[in-house]
């Protein structure tokens, strides 16, 4: 009943054409899922919101994978890669949801029709079309700073996802429910590292504190709702990020204090430039790495 290798099985399933990877669309992540947009919800808003949540995950995944072959120990490298993989899966579902709601931006200018929506969005948008927070695009710094950023990003995302489980969009609600245990695992893993580093040697403490100082200002962008988020929150689809501020602050303060780290003053909050497509100079090189292969060989099969 079983094929010799998985490749044989895939090959046969696709009529022996040997196309099974990038751009073949054989594996629509929402295959069979009812993607009807709920009544009273503007599809463009829903798509834009899914892009925000999807880009946060996609870009943080890319930063995490930069640790491949460079982590301090093999087990931790596997851990970081696993966190990235979970985020990539969330991004894929969310970008596919954005595509199913008709939001594709200018990605189709470059992507051929055979490329599925989520790949077109990931590989063929330009930097000004990405809508993630600066928190996730900033250079990761050293291992301590990477763990502090993962702690902050996963605490914020987990708080949002825990509430999004009640979203009126059944697809978003399902993606959130699936993401909650994953994000809990990431947050608690990062928190334990911050504890170990902060309450460790003088060198690890110094590095953890420096990581906190580097990441903390980026909290400024997270809690001001965009117009899309405000409209979708009123429609019962999105979560107002202001509503998770105290939970996020509480978790971060608890971890930092337990880690004997100094909690910096809360930064002056502002609307997120990242959500408006305004990014730092660090995004273009990150996207060049992420998108290079797909843009060089848009119909690649292997």
């Amino acid at each position: 009943m079983h094929e010799e290798t998985v490749y044989d099985a895939l090959d046969t399933a696709h009529g022996g054409e040997g196309q099974w990877a990038f751009g073949t669309g054989f594996d629509d992540p929402l295959a069979g899922v009812d993607t009807t947009v709920p009544d009273g919800v503007e599809p463009a808003d829903l798509g834009a919101y899914c892009l925000m949540l999807g880009d946060d995950a996609l870009v943080l995944c890319q930063r995490l994978t930069e640790w491949a072959t460079r982590a301090p120990e093999l087990e931790e490298e596997v851990a970081i890669a696993n966190c990235g993989l979970d985020l990539l899966g969330q991004a894929r579902l969310l970008l596919a949801r954005a595509g199913s709601a008709g939001v594709l931006g200018r990605s189709r200018r470059h992507a051929t029709d055979s490329i599925p929506d989520e790949d077109a969005l990931a590989y063929f948008r330009d930097p000004d079309e990405f809508v993630h927070h600066h928190l996730v695009e900033a250079d990761g710094g050293d291992f301590a700073q990477t763990m502090v950023r993962l702690l902050v990003a996963s605490t914020f995302r987990l708080a949002l996802f825990a509430q999004l489980r009640e979203s009126r969009d059944p697809v978003l609600s399902a993606i959130a429910a699936k993401g909650v245990p994953e994000l809990t695992y990431h947050r608690d893993h990062a928190a334990r590292w911050v504890l170990r580093l902060g309450d460790g040697t003088s060198e690890s403490h110094r590095r953890a504190q420096a990581g906190v100082e580097a990441v903390w200002p980026l909290l400024a962008d997270l809690f001001t709702a965009t117009e899309v988020e405000t409209r979708l929150t009123a429609a019962g689809v999105a979560v107002d990020p202001a509503g998770v501020r105290e939970e996020v602050r509480g978790v971060l303060t608890t971890v930092l204090e337990r880690a004997t780290l100094t909690v910096p003053a809360w930064p002056a909050e502002r609307p997120s430039p990242g959500r408006a497509g305004e990014h730092t100079g660090e995004l273009a090189p990150l996207l060049a790495t992420l998108q290079g292969l797909a843009r060089e060989h848009p119909a690649a099969t292997w």
Partner: protein, 168 residues
């Protein structure tokens, strides 16, 4: 072509997981439903273990291929995301096969509640007996392992490392 009418569920239930080949998709709880639509199409519903599970495409292809070989021409494999997969869905048979394959099966999944998820800063309290020698004296080496669904542990008695399907 055989004329014996086979139940498509029986066929789908023979398909194994590409990363845990000792388990069928049914053992793993990934195979949610097999039914035959009015037009004769076999509709198979599967759910991913983790959002980023890279094996979903292979599972889908394996299911389609197995059903084609059994004579079912039209097969539609659908994904369902909700309710999210839990390790509690791994069958008793599946747990036994995991242990026989050297992988410690999961304990009970944490209870899922609405509202904020409490922070857990202490050492993970998962316990798993060594699938090789049976000793309960084991320690966690890493909360992650070669696939998204496993953690890495070591037995303090026989000293062998082993993987453990982590509870979610």
């Amino acid at each position: 072509m055989s004329t014996v009418v086979t139940d498509p569920r029986d066929v789908a239930e023979t398909v194994t997981d590409p990363e845990l080949p000792m388990l069928t998709l049914a053992d793993l709880g990934v195979l949610r439903e097999v039914r035959t639509a009015d037009d004769g199409t076999v509709v198979v519903t599967i759910t991913p273990t983790y959002s980023g599970c890279p094996a979903m495409g292979v599972m889908r292809a394996d299911l389609v291929h197995a059903l084609h070989r059994a004579g079912f021409a039209d097969v539609d494999v659908r994904t369902v995301l909700s309710p999210p997969w839990s390790t509690d869905w791994i069958s008793e048979d599946g747990r036994r096969k995991l242990a026989e394959g050297g992988i410690a099966p999961p304990g009970h999944a944490p209870v899922r509640t609405a509202g904020p998820v409490p922070l857990s800063l202490g050492p993970t309290r998962r316990t798993a007996s060594c699938p090789l020698c049976g000793s309960a004296d084991t320690e966690e080496l890493s909360e992650f392992s070669g696939t998204a669904c496993k953690a890495l542990r070591r037995c303090r008695t026989c000293r062998e490392p082993f993987e453990h399907v982590k509870e979610i």
